[in-house]
Amino acid sequence: MTQTMIVQSFGFFIAIGLSPFFVGLIQTTKARIQGRHGPSVWQGYYVLLKYWKKETTLPENSSLIFVIAPIVSISVMLLIMLFIPWGKQLPGVLAGDFIMVFFLLALERFWTALAGLDTSGTFGGLGASRILTIGIGLEPMLFAVFGLCFFLTGNTHFAQISPLWLRQAPHLLAWFLAAGGFALTILLEIGRLPIDNPDTHLELTMMHEATQLEYNGRLFAFSHFASMCKVTAMLAIGWVWFGPTLSSQWWTLLLHLFELGVSSILVGVVESFTIKMRFFRIPYYVSAVIGMGLLAVVITAF
């Protein structure tokens, strides 16, 4: 029990601390594929530190919502990190389940979108509308994968879902469909190509960034950090559920961190060779994942 506790707290803090590094890995990978040197993998830390020290201002028409939204984002992300089993197990009080994570992600979306409307600008409102419209596809996608995981393991709890692939050899195809579906869902959730382009700096095409245009200083540092943590958290959930575990909790933690690095590089590679979709084609993407979920359910059901 104590060991679980210690591993969990270690994993929690290290994963949070390394989040900017993982995002840096994505950036570096993309730059290298484009033939550039690219920024240092530690660039995220410099940027965060700098925003932390800069002046923070509020736009005239905004309200308290504007202040709270980034705080909700960062709190939610830390909370999700807390409920991910970094070793193999979770301490009893943290036996969180995926429905909870699902609603926490919705909470973050709710507040980000609200803050977009709060600044009374068109871009913020447009970004908010886009985020939530995508959410309509995203949430069934998450449940298509979650539901499948539940079905394969009979449990909604993170720590029980983890050794899934070892037990479920007969459902290998279902496992592939679930893992693939989740990979596609992650790309959507963390705002990467082919849905959102984190490198675009044009007001008209942005989604998540459009709601952040008025932020600076500490509040921007919060939401910037939250989006980094989101990348780590979503990738980690993927590995916890679909990746292998080792006999010792410490080794498992190390393995997860290694996997996070690898998957960051993978995200960078995928992003380099993908083209942003048309906005109204996103339903096809969504239905593909939901279709995968349904197919997997049908396979396992019969």
């Binding site: 509020l58 389940d97 919705a106 909470l107 979108a113 609200l114 007001e203």
Partner: protein, 629 residues
Amino acid sequence: MMVIAYLFLLGLPIALFARQPLRSKLSLLCYSLLLLGIALIALYHPSTMMVHGALFALNPLRAWFLLLLSIVAVAVSWYRFGYQDHDDKATAFWLPLFVMSMTGVLMANTVWVFITFWELMSITSFFLVIVHHDREHVLPSGYVYLVMSQISAMAIIGGLFLLVSQVHSADLSVIALKAHAMNPGMKNWVSALLFIGFSMKSGVIPFHIWLPRAHPIAPTPVSSLMSGGMIKLGVFGLIQFLLLDVGVQQVFWAVLFLLVGAVTALLGVLYALMEKDLKRLLAFSSIENIGILFLGLGLMAVGIVLHRPTLEVTGMIATLFHAFNHALFKSQLFMIAGAVQQHTGTLDAERLGGLLRTMPGMGIAFIGGSMAISGLPPFNGFLSEWLTFHGLLSLMEHFGAFWMIVSFAVILMLAMTGALACLCFVNASGVIFLGVPRASRSNHPIGKAMTLPVIGLLFVCLAIGIDPNWLLSPLFAVFPQKPTLAVSSFFPSSLMVMSIVLLLLLTFFLWLSRFWTMKKVPNWQCGRVVHEQRQMSFTAFTKSVRTSLAIIYRPHRHLERTGTQAAYFPEQLIYRGGVRSIWEKYLYRPTYRLVWRLSGLTSILQAGSIQLYLIYMLGTIGLFLLFVH
């Protein structure tokens, strides 16, 4: 003890004698508090309160509904102290009667009493809905409501009479014991009639057409009570009669509940998205939530059909809990809508904006209520939706391929509903309360009497969201025959841990942000100045949904260009757009025409006096009695 049970009849004298406004408001408040007291005692100390008279009786299930009803009634009657927009003598007369009749429905212990109060409830609510009969659209909508509620009442009366004729007793406690043993054919007839009747009253699709028409035109306290309380009585009737007493036997009923629930939830929220009138939006959102309640009922039905007590209890607790939560936040949201109307004189979201600055309490409460209704932690809506999801997931597990696919599909629809509700309420709260006003107007201040009950309800929502145990523990007494279940088996401690840690983290980061030192600077607008029409509009916010789900909405749009050189140099560009629903075209239109014709027929019979209506009512009941015997 019987005396306490009869206290609810106090509503009648209040209605008749308290014509003076302040006294009427005060007495209604006291009356509601009394009902709340009765409900609390009945729920938490059932042994001291178990009244089992010939005519009236209370059990934990009824006490639960009484509790939610009386909480809404307390908030509403408190709210009435500040509410001026619609208050007049008619409301003062009908409102206590309305509350009393709903209480009567819950406490009734014989079919006769139940039907009497049910009809009284329909009639009083009809008069409350048409309080503003001088306004446009009020009377036609009121008639739609009247006709629909009468059709529903006919079905219920028919079902109950059939039941009575089979069991040979009108006593509900006898029915509860004997109804199970009815012959299956008769059971199905009874079930069908009751299902149609009660679900019509709840407003599930496709019986929902009265709901978005009746709720918005009624004065706010009435729409709060109708949406928070009255439509839940349909759910109560289904649980009490159809599921607990009669008990469904075929898989068909369970699937029907799940199907109707999923379709209602999804379409309800989809239609809510398109409403820019706040009250109509809330009315459609009620339909959505009734859909979620029906999913719980469906789970319960599956549990009954397949003899799985755990599933049955899960479904029922999910339904009861969500009904309670929805009563809280929906009546709260309706009250805020009323305050918005009193404050600005309009409910048209396209003309509102920036209200958080002029009515901060209401604004915060609306955002909180929106979070609750979207099922977001740490509010109560999260827990009941969590439980519904859990129930559906457990249905997926051990019941074979058929149930697995059904529940998987329902889960996906529910997840989509949640996301749509989130979009809908971000849109409503963002467009109405945030940003800057979209049209110039003068604001009337809102009194504390309106703000406090709304904030109070929000706090109850938050308290339940953080720890539901204190509320839910007495519910398990509903199942004396079932294996004892504890709340902890439903809600893991991690949920509470999460809510608390979330609040702690929020406070910590709020402190860390040092927001009190931040200064305000002009908005960044690409180097130009602010222009109020550049804010996102309510209609535009949901445009992508309209486009993506064109198959459901059938949107149409037309851009008219005027002038002699219209092709390249139009003098004016005028946009007209909207949605054209296939339901509207192929189902509602004909139904509406039929209903309208029917209501045209009834108007021949109507002379408008109350006595005449009561005579009609008695005549109808008499006819039914003749028919059944």
